[in-house]
């Protein structure tokens, strides 16, 4: 398809199933294969193992007492994959209750988590980039227990002192029904909401830091309320890549999702570029043409 990057999930529970015992077998195979295809891997780290969380807690639940355990894991990943995987995303969508251990999102706690892992990772691999954020774009009102507005969450991360504890901001840029070029606005979830997140970075003097889109895009399910038509999805996707190309503070534009392992028989199947059988969808060929400059 012409993609230079791939975002892959490295579940903590799979690799460090017992404290201090690391099983790199599957992750190594994945990294080796991706590199053989010319792909740069961005690792998404999360999925708390049972030994690091209370019994019955979800895999996104981590108490502050266990932040150093996560730091040990991140440091081990940084060391093991030095020179092969340098971009590590810490957690996924911590501004959503579901991704924060079924608790109200807490930007200060997430910042503490970043502080715990940042220095340890850099000690093991000076070239490592710690990606923070990966926030779920949403318009939740203040006090909503299920989710916290992504702009507010990032602002409060800075207020909690996150600035010196991440190297790039991971952004999830979903367009829903809006065209790629629609201007950003705090009361709209659209692709260019990314610019509003960047504005928060600028507000706190974080000018030198770049953004990496690690999720995003459009869905073309025939009936889902947030979907566009297949043609609109293709056109928006190409425009999104083009916008990233032209925006000097954006380094990566990785959209959701190349493939799902199995069909879900829901709207989720209509985010992918190839089927579970690796059958390319038309959007795959259109992106390929764009990547080739055709």
């Amino acid at each position: 398809m012409g993609a230079p990057y791939v975002v892959e999930f490295f579940p903590w529970a799979y690799i460090e199933n017992q404290k201090g015992e690391f099983d790199w077998d599957h992750a190594d195979a994945l990294v080796d294969h991706a590199r053989q295809q010319g792909l740069t891997v961005i690792a998404r780290l999360g999925f708390v193992p049972p030994w690091a969380r209370p019994e019955g807690a979800s895999t996104s639940y981590l108490d502050p007492e266990q932040y150093n355990d996560l730091a040990d894991f991140v440091a081990a990943v940084a060391e093991h994959y030095q020179g092969r995987v340098n971009d590590l995303t810490i957690w996924n969508e911590p501004n959503v209750n579901f991704e924060w251990g079924q608790r109200p999102p807490d930007p200060a706690a997430y910042t503490e988590l970043l502080k715990a892992v940042y220095t340890r990772a850099h000690e093991k691999n000076p070239d490592v980039k710690i990606l923070a954020g990966a926030l779920a774009p949403n318009l939740a009102s203040p006090g909503t227990p299920d989710a916290m507005n992504d702009l507010a969450f990032l602002d409060q991360m800075y207020q909690a002192g996150a600035k010196n504890y991440f190297d790039a901001l991971a952004v999830h840029a979903y367009g829903w029904k809006a065209p790629a070029e629609e201007a950003p606005s705090p009361d709209r979830v659209n692709f260019r909401r990314t610019e509003l997140l960047h504005n928060v970075m600028l507000k706190y003097g974080d000018d030198a830091k770049h953004v990496m889109l690690t999720e995003g895009g459009w869905n073309d399910h025939p009936r889902w309320t947030k979907a566009v038509t297949p043609a609109e999805r293709i056109q928006n996707t190409i425009k999104a890549y083009d916008w990233c190309e032209r925006t000097d503070w954006v380094d990566v534009c990785a959209l959701w999702v190349f493939r799902t392992p199995a069909p879900t028989y829901t709207f989720n199947d209509y985010f992918s570029f190839v089927t579970p059988d690796f059958d390319p969808k038309p959007i795959y060929y259109e992106v390929q043409k764009y990547a080739r400059g055709e």
Binding site: P222, A231, E232, T266, F267, K281, P282, Y285
Partner: protein, 293 residues
């Protein structure tokens, strides 16, 4: 005729009808065993266990004269809520046919699409009828009825084209598709083999208009878009009508819509299948499609 309600003991026979003595499964060739297994699986799929034991759900439907149907009412043109609690669409029409046949009323139970299977198995309703695509990963959890609609892309030609009987007859000719759809994907797959000249349009309507104007020899769209176009054009009095278009063969890919019931509802399953089969046989199902798409 096979009576699926009666279990039949398998007794091996020779060709002349005499019993094979000391028969052992292990003495059969592997290929024959595999074939037998496949035949059994196919039979099990086509004829799931018949009502050999009481079906409490069907009994309750009969006693209370109410069937409870789980829906996500956000799937036009299958099921639409007008905001005042009035439902319409193809699935609603099909549900009405079932209820009329059984002499019962319908109680609609609203559920988000992702929660339909869980709610069914939690007995919050009796069946799911909600633009539900066949899902092979759920066959251990529920029974699926016969398909009542195939949403796969269809090949359409003008009515005066009597020679196009399949894609093979379109060698080197131009075909219109809606960019990015399953129809587009199918056309791209066959493009090299038949040297098809693909004309990609942003909407199904544009693709069909290209066929209407004779700019292409055929169009591939999804059937809902086609019926929708047909109706809209008929309303204007200038469009395609029954005289000047033809659907060529079966859909080019399968996207079957089915109804799901719990695995403890074999009688309900058979009763639904009987309604679907009868509607297919007498042409009423196609009429309901045309009325609602």
């Amino acid at each position: 005729m096979i009576d699926p309600s009666k279990k039949q003991k398998f007794v091996p026979h020779k060709r002349d009808g005499s019993k094979i003595e000391n028969f052992r499964i292990g003495s059969l060739p592997p290929a024959l065993l595999a074939l037998a297994l496949l035949a059994y699986l196919a039979y099990s799929f086509l004829f799931p266990p018949a009502p050999s034991k009481p079906d409490d759900t069907w009994t309750r439907i009969q006693n209370e004269k109410v069937v409870r149907i789980g829906i996500d009412p956000s799937s036009p043109p299958f099921i639409v809520d007008d905001g005042k609690g009035n439902l319409s669409g193809f699935d609603v029409a099909l549900a009405n046919e079932m209820a009329n046949t059984w002499g019962v009323k319908i109680q609609w139970v609203y559920t988000g699409f992702d929660g339909l299977y869980d709610a069914l198995n939690a007995k919050q309703f009796d069946l799911i009828l909600s633009a539900l695509p066949y899902n092979p990963t759920k066959t251990q959890d529920v029974y699926f009825t016969h398909a009542y609609f195939n949403g796969g892309p269809i090949l359409i030609v003008r009515g005066d084209d009597a020679t196009t009987t399949d894609l093979d007859k379109l060698q080197g000719r131009a075909i219109a598709v809606e960019l990015g759809t399953n129809g587009d994907a199918v056309a791209r797959k066959w493009q090299k083999r038949y040297n098809l000249q693909l004309r990609q349009h942003n909407t199904a309507q544009d693709a069909l208009r290209a066929l209407q104007k004779g700019e292409v020899s055929a169009a591939i769209t999804d059937p809902i878009a086609f019926y929708d176009f047909q109706r809209a054009e008929a309303d204007t009095g200038v469009g395609l009508n029954a005289m000047n278009w033809r659907i060529v063969g079966a859909p080019l890919a399968g996207e079957n819509y089915i109804i799901a019931v719990r695995r403890d509802s074999p009688t309900l399953l058979h009763e639904i299948n009987a309604v679907i089969d009868e509607l297919k046989r007498d042409g009423r199902l196609e009429e309901l499609q045309k009325e609602n798409f």
